[in-house]
């Protein structure tokens, strides 16, 4: 469904229903052995189970069946954007991930420091996975020495050999082919504009690469760099305007505040722990209509393969639930952005459990919050994540009837 349909039905006004979207990153899990329980099933979650009795349950997919989501697209799905239609370039995501304040006409790219041989052929695309400190040092050096008339150049370290490049100037466009040949033994490719409008930025990128090659030539092993994923802040309909919701993102990590800001939410400050996240929720309750609250460590422990620690994080969140419910939200959605089963130590394609609570939701027969239970819920076992926002809007009393 097009945003135009939703927008045409949105009721505007003060004092309409408030919506909380509580995202436990990587919530969905797997049993560690056949017949076992998932992380969520194993967790002792008396508050969520009690809430399940008067909620609708189900499992969402943030992209499509079988597709493992990255964090950016997964969150876009939760915010109501079909991630296959609304693609964020890697460069822009990279900027979000390190809290770089990307401007509208900036062109961002993900970079790798790499090693080239005497003929200029790539011999290691990751420069021996140099430590982050070296990456920081090299970025500092490039920030100091690179100078291109007509454009500001920003280098920022990301992790190990990875960095962010931002070109800031007038009228730049980012449809530029990557310079990474993607295999060793080949020369880095020139940054080539894929359309007329991107020619100016491509020219700047080529000049940047020329200067960087000169500056880095005596470094070892990182004596060159490769650029990928040229991108800009997308020009999308903004979340607060589509839904007429004053919207705030409460999160501990830049990536999640960033993707929320990308769609127009505000995110005044990073929280330091879960308690502080709920403090921020309470403090801002009267000022906003929509609250995105992000819990990170469920995913981190999933990535580590640490089943009990992921269970522990879910239980911590369960203990915070009474504070959220005390605010009396009109809609409370508890879910994840994707699955990160400790068994797999990675994101996965498995559908993500959803608990959808509202006084106006028609309850189903599910009385606990877990993957198996959710397959029997009223929301169904594999529904598109982008249906959550229209549902939330309906239950918050914020949508008119369609047609007469």
């Amino acid at each position: 469904m097009d945003f135009d349909v939703i927008k045409s039905l949105v009721i505007k006004g003060e004092k309409l229903g408030k919506i909380v979207l509580l995202v436990m990153d990587g919530l969905g899990g797997m049993p560690m052995e056949p017949g076992g329980k998932t992380e969520l099933e194993a967790a002792n979650t008396p508050n969520m189970d009690k809430l399940a009795v008067s909620s609708m349950l189900g499992l969402h997919q943030s992209i499509r069946t079988g597709i493992t989501p990255g964090s950016g697209p997964a969150h876009l799905g939760l915010f109501g954007y079909d991630p296959l239609k609304y693609e964020v370039g890697r460069g822009a995501l990279s900027a979000l991930g390190i809290d770089f304040d990307l401007h509208d006409s900036d062109v961002a790219a993900r970079g790798n420091f790499c090693t080239v041989d005497e003929q200029g052929l790539v011999s290691d695309r990751r420069a021996g996975r140099i430590p982050t400190e070296i990456c920081e040092h090299l970025c500092d050096m490039l920030n100091e020495k690179v100078s291109i008339p007509g454009v500001e150049v920003f280098l920022r370290p990301v992790k190990e050999y990875r960095f962010l490049l931002v070109l800031r100037g007038e009228g730049l466009k980012a449809n530029i082919a990557e310079t990474d040949p993607l295999s060793v033994g080949e020369k880095p490719l020139p940054a080539t504009a894929m359309d007329q409008k991107s020619e100016k930025a491509a020219e700047f990128a080529r000049e940047f690469v020329r200067q960087a090659a000169e500056i880095l030539k005596d470094e070892h092993p990182a004596n060159m760099l490769l650029l990928r994923g040229f991108a800009q802040i997308p020009d999308w309909p903004k979340f607060p305007e589509i839904y007429d919701l004053k919207s705030i993102a409460i999160a501990m990590y830049p990536m999640y505040r960033g993707v929320a800001k990308l769609v127009g939410m505000v995110s005044p400050a990073a929280a330091h722990d879960y308690e502080e996240e709920i403090d921020m929720l309470e403090e801002n309750w009267d000022k906003y209509d929509f609250f995105f609250v992000h819990i990170k460590k469920t995913d981190s422990y999933g990535e580590d393969g640490n089943f009990p620690a992921k269970v522990g994080e879910i239980e911590k969140v369960d203990k915070l639930l009474p504070r959220i419910l005390a605010l009396d939200p009109d809609v409370l959605i508890i879910t994840g952005d994707h699955s990160t089963p400790a068994l797999m130590k990675s994101h996965s394609w498995h559908p993500v459990p959803v608990l959808f609570y509202s006084k106006l939701c028609r309850p189903d027969n599910v009385i606990s919050f877990g993957e198996r239970a959710c397959t029997q819920g009223a929301l169904g076992g594999r529904f598109p994540a982008f249906e959550l926002m229209p549902l939330a809007m309906a239950h918050a009393g914020r949508l008119e009837k369609y047609g007469a």
Copy 2:
């Protein structure tokens, strides 16, 4: 799925399976208190429950997730038309609702009688909600006095301050902006054509408004009128041709006979009660292939917030079921067009229970007809209403195999 696909598969011929679509308007409900039953769950429906044993169950959505349907779009969904693709203008719906026989090139608009002050600024968009009798009187007066060369003008009272305007002439098109400024303290807007083809009708509309303002100027409080939702009968593929089904609509109220006629069904006469509806079904059994039977009062009592009366209507319909089954339909679908929970006293977005009976349907494990039970049915808990017609056609033995 496109109608072209279905059309290419339709088997033509005599003596193929017969389909009954029994629509209890606003059937879907909600518990009045946490832990309670919905209207359908509370109703004593031994015949439907018995039929559920050999049926497929589920819940449909006639528009999309979270969207509350109006009656027009909701019925279009049941007839297999995606309501987001097949939009009926408000003016045309208004004509259907009062049984006005709209011709193909007629332009219809919804009107409000309103009040303007001495400067011609709107002071009350609803003219103090004048009673229907005054509306009738004003329409009569306008019908008598308005005279515009080249066009016939029809005014019809709807309810209170609302009326229908129809312009009948050659080559009229309805892409015309509304004259309602939508707020008080402003002048009515001129009827402006939004494309070249609609200029002629817009000119007639402006002349109508000019004459009407003169005729009404000494009335109180309805001394002016506003026009919205200019529309025509849409030029769509017709239901009987898409499916090759001789189709009849049996209903008590004009709106439902109207929307059925809009897609090409016949509807010879209005029924006066449920018994008479079933009489008409029996009388026409040999003459038609598809029977749309509409039950109104489930919705009316839902709108009134009268839970027990809605339950009572469902029970009345259950008692009529043996008469329908005695006709031995090849497919019998029992559902609603949308939900109208007595709790909410309005249409709602909640999915609508469906009982799909056919000798060829693969039964599921659901053995009663109710919202919670239906979430466990083979049709799923939130499927698009426009999938019902292809399913009905299949079970009636009316579709060829796709491909070899």
